[in-house]
């Protein structure tokens, strides 16, 4: 095989060794292990909340008054909240909501963004111009303010929060995919495929898209972390569901802030839960990036 031919092999066809290499690096990286443990913990709690939780999440199980809120005890590990509900149960159930909101908003935003990026990258010309100006426009409003605007437009509620976060994340994925496509369009294997007469649609779908997958996965993992934190932030501002029985971490934090002196731990538990979830995906995403992109290793 001549050198020119070797260069023309698409990376994903030589991908077996790249993938195995990345996997080996990942397993050796303590940061990746820590991230994976946190993610598994978070997802397991989210899935198993109904079986793990000792009490119902939406009903009072003890007596409370605003001045005396019982703290952690043997029966109630995290104590009771201001309405007499079991805090531990609510933190466990909160993982469920957090996961749903995070995943749904990520999938929506990722799909939308990738479609925009695909449009811009595949057609180029004025389509690219229009899409990228739109992306610039969206990025010119600070993320959280943009999300506030969208959520407020849709009225409050969980679906409004999910759509808002999805819209805010769209330009990130659009830019990512377009950049990847532009970079790969000039690469040797795409030129080679074009030269032997492969149709453009096949090149895009069969070569460029799969090759962009690793960056999309990395970005997706990191975005999941910010989506969870942003969703909590919107809930904290009162833009999430009005239903007080839904144990949403951001809202739990907002509702219990005023007990700073009488029951300070009430806000600490949901806060720590948000950190566990977000940190897990952040660590995993960062170590994935390191493992997949040799340039990033240090």
């Amino acid at each position: 095989m001549s050198l020119a031919q070797m260069e023309a092999v698409a990376p994903e066809e030589a991908g077996g060794s790249l993938g195995r290499d990345a996997w080996r690096r990942l397993r050796r990286n303590p940061v990746a292990i820590a991230g994976a443990v946190l993610v598994v913990l978070f997802v397991a709690v989210a899935l198993l909340a109904p079986w793990l939780a000792p009490y119902p999440p939406d009903k009072p199980v003890g007596q409370v008054t605003p001045t005396s809120i019982p703290g952690p005890s043997a029966e109630h590990w995290f104590g009771l909240d201001d309405l007499g509900r079991d805090e531990f149960t609510r933190v466990l159930w909160g993982a469920r909501w957090s996961l749903v909101i995070g995943v749904v908003s990520l999938l929506l935003g990722m799909t939308g963004g990738l479609l925009l990026g695909l449009l811009a990258g595949a057609f180029g010309g004025w389509v690219d111009g229009v899409v990228m100006r739109l992306v610039d426009m969206m990025l010119s409003v600070p993320g959280l303010l943009f999300a506030i605007g969208v959520a407020a437009m849709l009225g409050s509620g969980l679906d409004a929060v999910m759509i808002a976060i999805a819209v805010v994340n769209m330009p990130i994925f659009a830019r990512l995919l377009r950049g990847q496509m532009l970079a790969q369009r000039g690469s040797d294997y795409v030129l080679a495929a074009t030269a032997v007469g492969v149709r453009r649609r096949r090149i895009v779908l069969g070569h460029i898209l799969p090759n962009s997958l690793t960056s999309v996965i990395v970005q997706g993992t990191l975005t999941l972390a910010t989506a969870i934190v942003d969703a909590a932030g919107l809930a904290f501002l009162g833009l999430s569901s009005n239903d007080p029985s839904i144990p949403e971490w951001g809202r739990m934090l907002a509702d219990t802030q005023r007990y700073l002196s009488s029951a300070p731990l009430l806000a600490v538990f949901p806060g720590l839960a948000i950190i566990v979830a977000a940190l897990g995906f952040t660590l995993l995403g960062e170590s994935l990036r390191e493992a997949l992109d040799p340039k990033y290793r240090r």
Binding site: M137, L145, A232, L260, G271
Partner: protein, 334 residues
């Protein structure tokens, strides 16, 4: 250089125009439409009709848009349904507080982040380096509102050394000619008011500055690591220069270029984060006003504030690009 600025400004025009269309349509798309948005949720049908006539909402949308844009250029962003004051007035009243807060956060982020990032790179592979990497990953994920709560609990509630909320002790006899309380303390020659204003900035500034801090640490560390391996640093060492000269002129002057770019992007993060931080600390700035407007569904305020933020954000980034050109001779020539 001037040509560069003009070109960049020209690029902003379509972005801001497009954004104004989006924000205009945004209010049309609100539940209940713009009339209700102006009047608030409990508007009677008759009042809605009256307002529609009054504001020309029965005319075609493009005419309405042009009217609106004209008003924006004349400095009229509408009236807050919550306070019944013009939005522009509210903006001018609350923004100085947020500027003070954002500057505090930035000073904290850069003032702590650059030395930490530099030291981590210098001691690459040591416990200090690992700690800074772990710390910055952790710092990026901490929700601002939770960090604010913890700071309030530790330093205000438990230790009692810093104020819990607000910008100034209401019992203090302080005048505010400029609206920037730190500046006010200086110009009125009132050291007590100055100290009090500064004390009120510490906790929210730290809370708001933590994510930028984490980012600055990461960027500085990576950048210094790159620069330390450069040949010109070895040349500088070979010249036997004083360590301070090598550090400042040869390492940091190059390593801080990426940090300058990042600072511009952080401004967006700070303005967004200000909404959460100011809510936690009841800090009467632009963000707190916006948070209150969300609860009150005060759309005129949201529309005006978001537009204003976008303008500030793109202008700051333009400034950063210009500054970058001034620092890096290679860009200046290009």
């Amino acid at each position: 250089m001037l040509g560069f600025v003009v070109r960049r400004l020209a690029l902003l025009v379509p972005i801001l125009l497009g954004l104004s269309v989006l924000l205009f349509l945004w209010v049309r798309a609100l539940p209940g439409g713009p009339a209700e948005a102006l009047l608030g949720e409990r508007a009677t049908p008759e009042a809605v009709e009256r307002v529609k006539k009054l504001y020309g909402l029965d005319r075609p949308w493009y005419e309405q848009y042009l009217t609106w844009v004209g008003n924006v250029f004349r400095g009229d962003l509408g009236v807050s349904s919550r306070t019944q004051h013009p939005v522009v007035e509210e903006l001018l009243r609350t923004f100085p507080a947020t500027v003070e807060l954002a500057l505090t956060a930035m000073i904290f982020a850069v003032g702590v982040g650059v030395p930490v990032g530099y030291l981590a790179a210098r001691r690459h592979g040591t416990w200090l380096d690992h700690l800074s990497v772990a710390g910055s990953l952790f710092g990026i994920t901490i929700p601002v509102f939770f960090l604010g709560y913890m700071l309030k609990f530790a330093f205000a509630e438990k230790l009692g050394i810093l104020p819990t909320d607000g910008r100034q002790d209401p019992l203090l006899d302080a005048e505010h000619p400029t609206g920037f309380y730190v500046l006010d303390g200086l110009v009125t020659g009132n050291p007590e008011a100055l100290g009090d204003a500064l004390a009120h900035l510490v906790l929210p500034g730290v809370a708001l500055g933590t994510i930028p801090l984490a980012i600055v640490v990461r960027i500085t560390r990576a950048s210094v690591l790159d620069v330390l391996h450069e040949d010109y640093v070895r040349t500088a060492e070979a010249k036997g220069l004083a360590p301070a000269t090598i550090r400042g002129r040869h390492v940091l002057r190059n390593a801080l270029l990426p940090v300058v770019t990042i600072i511009g992007l952080q401004v967006g993060l700070l303005l967004g984060g200000a909404v959460l931080t100011e809510t936690v600390f009841a800090f009467p700035g632009f963000g707190k006003f916006m948070a209150d407007s969300i609860v009150a569904r005060d759309y005129a305020v949201l529309q005006g504030f978001i537009l204003f933020t976008a303008v500030i954000f793109v202008l700051v980034n333009l400034l950063v690009d210009v500054a970058y050109g001034l620092i890096d001779p290679r860009v200046r020539a290009a």
